[in-house]
């Protein structure tokens, strides 16, 4: 966690947008002495920020370190609530684990946990998620919606839309969503979402949204190379991770606000815009066997509708979906 003063300082630099800020102005805004301002600037420098100081002009932020931490996320962040309470870690077993603990302790909505590296990143059913140091975005977000638990699965589709929109805005690639919330580019997974619930029988206490996004990886281990990709591999460019986190938080906050106000329908329409599953021959694999058929669409609650050859309609709540190639 970081101090209020630090947050305000970053907000000031954000507003200045690369222009000089006088020491006098900063000290007035932060309500501290000019010596204290100088100390805060020194702290930023120690963390890898390049701050230019010019007599009579003041301070200007020239370059930010390629680090994913609270400073970086908040410098330029345009959200109201999401991402203003940040737990940044160099290395954690999993950001989900830490976020769960924080949620239990009462962390506010919009709190995020980010880490440069996960040593035990995980996905569905404790499958591991490859999360090497400094290459991707490993993040968990705490939400506290006033909805009954049976509605909560809709949030996983909402998060998928937010991730897809953020990727599209930053890279110009239009990703696909495979039901319910795998994010694919050219058929390979670029981001995964794992959502967990803390709930009483009739009320959600907290939703912990875990997002793993492959950003600057240049290669993957052999076993996942055929199914995984990164934004860098798909575009030939590297990306500033904090910028993606900011865009993502902004999309999440916006869609979440829409959802709380207008319900799932607007989210459903956006989701369908990215959906690659619909109209395709698919195999839905569950613990109790596989269902083969055509994916007709999703219901108003986000459930996948599949029609088998005999004409019967099946409603799929959980499964691994494989899209059959023509």
């Amino acid at each position: 966690m970081q101090s209020e003063t630090r947050k305000q300082l970053l907000k000031l630099f954000t507003e200045a947008g690369g222009a000089f800020l006088s020491g006098q102005k900063i000290s007035e805004q932060l309500g501290c002495s000019r010596t204290a301002v100088w100390k805060h600037i020194e702290d930023l420098r120690k963390e890898g920020f390049e701050v230019e100081a010019v007599r009579r002009l003041g301070y200007r932020l020239k370059q930010m370190p390629d680090k994913l931490n609270a400073n970086e996320v908040q410098l330029g962040l345009k959200t109201k609530r999401f991402g203003w309470n940040v737990y940044d870690q160099e290395s954690v077993p999993s950001t989900q684990q830490l976020a769960h603990q924080l949620a239990h302790e009462g962390a506010e909505e919009g709190t995020i946990v980010i880490a440069e590296e996960q040593t035990a990143g995980r996905g569905r059913l404790n499958r591991s998620w490859h999360s090497p140091k400094g290459t991707g975005i490993w993040m968990s977000l705490i939400l506290r919606p006033s909805i009954p638990p049976q509605q909560a699965p809709q949030l996983t589709l909402l998060v998928a839309v937010a991730v897809a929109e953020a990727i599209q805005e930053v890279t110009n690639i239009v990703p696909d969503i495979k039901w319910p919330n795998d994010i694919l580019v050219n058929g390979k997974k670029v981001a995964g979402i794992l959502t967990e619930l803390q709930a009483d029988p009739d009320q959600v206490r907290a939703v912990i949204v875990g997002i793993g996004m492959n950003v600057n990886q240049k290669q993957f281990p052999n076993d996942i190379a055929p199914i995984a990709t990164s934004l860098a591999l798909e575009t030939g460019r590297t990306f500033h991770r904090p910028k993606i986190v900011q865009t993502l938080l902004q999309k999440l906050e916006q869609l979440y606000g829409q959802y709380l106000q207008h319900g799932f329908l607007p989210i459903k329409l956006l989701w369908e815009g990215y959906a690659v599953t619909i109209g395709q021959q698919i195999v839905a694999r569950t613990l109790n066997g596989a269902i083969r058929g055509v994916a007709l669409g999703i219901t108003d609650s986000g459930t996948l509708k599949v029609q088998t050859e005999d004409g019967a309609i099946h409603y799929i709540y959980s499964a691994d979906i494989e899209i059959k190639k023509e």
């Binding site: 404790n126 809709q154 996983t156 967990e196 613990l287 959980s318």
Partner: protein, 166 residues
């Protein structure tokens, strides 16, 4: 033939329930219980085997027994009716989804029959659309019965576990 403890348990369960008469037949042996002063006749026909020991009473209603003069409403929710009268706590599913007894396919289940649980002990996961809901026991007690199988699709409000509160 049932063991004497099992019969004793049966008597206790029938006594605590509002079942008036109870018949159990298996391999040629037959147990018949009838409460004194019973005005209504309730006959419960037991289907063949696979009825595990002490859970006989709880298991019978769902396997379409012949029930006479019982209100339709009660028949629709047999488990709940029996459970309520037995003072057992039912852990129900808060949403439609897949029931997972263990955190991963090759891990041991969160709980099994006979396990002591605390209020906040995680007893299973219900998942829908990759949203994982860790279900807590809600009461301190002992798991008496697991009512669903790993991987099964469960409905909203469907009973998952019976817990004997402490």
């Amino acid at each position: 033939m049932l063991k004497i403890q099992e019969i004793r348990e049966l008597i206790r369960l029938v006594n605590e329930s509002n079942i008036v008469e109870f018949v159990y037949e298996h391999d040629g042996s037959k147990i018949k219980m009838k409460k004194a002063g019973a005005a209504e006749q309730v006959v419960v026909a037991t289907p063949k085997v696979d009825v595990p020991q002490t859970s006989v009473v709880q298991q019978q209603p769902p396997v379409t027994p012949v029930v006479e003069k019982v209100e339709v409403k009660e028949e629709a929710k047999p488990e709940k009716q029996v459970v309520a009268t037995e003072n057992l706590h039912t852990i129900t599913s808060p949403m439609v989804g897949t029931f997972y007894a263990a955190p991963s396919p090759d891990a041991a289940p969160y709980v099994k029959v006979g396990d002591k649980v605390k209020k906040d002990t995680i007893v299973c996961i219900v998942e829908a659309m990759k949203l994982f809901n860790e279900i807590e026991a809600e009461v301190d007690g002992e798991i008496v019965e697991v009512l669903v199988k790993n991987g099964q699709l469960v409905e909203y409000g469907q009973p998952l576990f019976l817990v004997k509160p402490e």
